[in-house]
């Protein structure tokens, strides 16, 4: 049962990876990478149960939290070309 779920997850990872490589615009690629991160969390969870080590859920949680930050960072960089700025009035300088 877990093996079938694993094959489906690997297929989904492959398809989102194709979209990340082929995507015509930046946002296609970003969305594909974000989806790939979410699928990776599922992959880690299913792999943990497949090999009988449910502690892997901790690693999945960490991955989910860090993946969110990575997406925000890339989006902010492409929107503002800068990591540190906060407010709009600073941007008008």
């Amino acid at each position: 049962m877990f093996a079938a779920a694993m094959i489906a997850i690997l297929l989904a990872m492959f398809m989102s990876l194709c979209r990340a490589l082929l995507g015509p615009t930046l946002y296609d690629r970003l969305l594909a990478v974000n989806v790939l991160g979410t699928i990776t969390v599922l992959f880690i969870a299913v792999f943990g149960f497949l090999t009988g080590r449910p502690e892997f859920l901790d690693i999945g949680l960490a991955y989910a939290l860090i993946n969110f930050i990575a997406t925000i960072a890339v989006l902010k960089f492409f929107e503002y070309r800068d990591m540190g700025r906060a407010t709009e009035e600073e941007l008008d300088i």
Partner: protein
């Protein structure tokens, strides 16, 4: 990022979770996957998210770079002090068995102190690196 209301609310919700998870990874490292290095990186990631959403200046007010320099050195000193305490108590360098009457509880105490030193130093250095790279 003032007008991104969703991001700000989500960040306020998720930053305490990240910090709490970092402490979980830190203190559960003896029994499961985790440890000082991973916990330090996750802890620093929480503050990096704060800097991304609310601006680097606010994060610098919360954790000034001087404080980070001091805590980075303090974590290393904790590691070194734990190692040297083993010598002073009659064992080898980084010998945990002499910290308590029972070797098992001595090893628990020793690895806890070592991992705490590693975690503090890694979090401080990661955040210092982010400050340097994110400077406009």
């Amino acid at each position: 990022m003032e007008h991104h209301l969703v991001l700000r609310v989500i960040a306020k919700f998720i930053i305490p979770m990240i910090l709490l998870f970092a402490f979980y990874v830190q203190f559960h490292g003896d029994y499961g996957p985790g440890g000082g290095f991973q916990a330090g990186v996750i802890f620093a990631a929480g503050f990096i998210l704060h800097a991304l959403i609310f601006g680097l200046d606010h994060t610098r007010k919360v954790l000034p770079p001087v404080v980070l320099r001091v805590t980075g050195a303090l974590g290393l000193l904790l590691y070194l002090g734990t190692g040297l305490a083993g010598i002073l108590l009659g064992g080898n360098y980084l010998d945990y068995n002499v910290f308590a009457a029972d070797p098992i509880s001595g090893q628990h105490l020793g690895i806890l102190l070592i991992e705490m030193g590693v975690g503090i130093t890694v979090a401080s250095v990661m955040l210092s690196l982010f400050y340097i790279f994110a400077q406009p």
